[in-house]
């Protein structure tokens, strides 16, 4: 407990005339002549009541104003959320968009102008025989020429054209 609190406790039961500082402070606050702490005038009581009421009235008015001002925005947000939900549901069963264009691979290993399974076969043979390989055959771009590049060429060979285009 703080020392001044202990002091106040010690003063409990003493007469108000012995608290000149409190009396002076209250007089300054309410701009009245020095008052007796033991007798709070009705005017001070009334003034405090009015001040409290004015404070809380302002608070409640502001709250009401804020809530009604936000109501249209809350409504708009709810409508947007509902529309978004409806759109997501309707899109869920829509067909997935087709790729617009397939990735172009430079997998023409045998240089005949076509990418077919023979290009994959040729690269696989060269890998099998540990023959030197050009860096351009790193089709996957992972820094290594391996079975992944063979698969990439083969997949390019069998790729179907996107819908509406000829393969």
């Amino acid at each position: 407990m703080r020392p001044d609190a202990e002091e106040n406790d010690d003063k409990a039961g003493e007469s108000p005339e012995e608290w000149p500082e409190l009396s002076a402070g209250l007089s300054t606050l309410f701009r009245h002549a020095p008052i007796e702490v033991s007798e709070v005038p009705a005017s001070v009581d009334q003034e405090m009541r009015l001040a409290i009421r004015a404070h809380y009235d302002q608070f409640f008015r502001r709250r009401r104003f804020v809530s009604w001002r936000l109501a249209p925005w809350a409504g708009a947000a709810a409508a947007v959320a509902a529309g978004l939900t409806a759109w997501i549901v309707s899109q869920r069963h829509s067909p997935a968009p087709q790729p617009q264009a397939r990735q172009q691979l430079s997998g023409d290993v045998d240089g005949n102008g076509l990418v077919d399974i023979l290009d994959a076969y040729a690269l696989a043979r060269r890998l099998q025989n540990s023959q030197p390989l050009e860096l351009t055959l790193d089709l996957t771009g992972d820094g290594a020429i391996d079975r992944m590049d063979v698969d990439a060429i083969a997949m390019e060979a069998v790729a179907l054209a996107p819908q509406g285009a000829s393969s």
Partner: protein
């Protein structure tokens, strides 16, 4: 109190809109599927090759349904161990009537298949009364070192 009523009203509107969207989608699908229930069957079309005495090292061919309502639903490898794995194909061919398949083997010539062998099996879903018809067009039939070979392709 009015604020709570407002929130409840907007929540109700949102729920109603969502429900309407779901119902609309279901009705649409019912309308799409509701017209004359077609008989759906599943079939397997085998692709065979006869390369005579030439060992087969690589092939690439196009399989296509030219009649009937056909959708490709699966692709299986061949009977020879060197071509037993499913061939390369574009996954976009699923649920379509056309696919390009290809495969190769770098095994020694003694291990490669020759003569008549099943290359692959195409599993299809057919519907409707029209009898499905298929065709196959070879693009690559090659032996060791990629040399082209003459071979006969047939469907079974």
């Amino acid at each position: 109190m009015r604020r709570f009523l407002l929130i409840i009203a907007f929540a109700f509107v949102g729920a109603a809109l969502s429900g309407a969207a779901i119902l609309d989608e279901r009705w649409s699908s019912i309308e799409r599927d509701g017209a004359a229930p077609a008989t759906i069957k599943f079939d397997a079309v085998e692709i065979w090759i006869d390369s005579k005495d030439q060992p087969l090292a690589a092939y690439q061919l196009e399989f296509k349904a030219v009649a009937g309502d056909v959708k490709i639903v699966g692709i299986e490898g061949g009977e020879h161990s060197e071509f037993a794995s499913p061939p390369y194909y574009d996954p976009r061919a699923m649920q379509q009537e056309r696919v390009i398949i290809a495969s190769f083997s770098t095994a020694r010539v003694e291990a490669l298949p020759s003569g008549r062998t099943r290359l692959a099996t195409i599993h299809v879903q057919t519907s409707g009364d029209k009898e499905p018809e298929y065709e196959v067009k070879p693009a690559v039939l090659a032996t060791i070192d990629g040399k082209p070979i003459e071979a006969r392709i047939e469907l079974k």
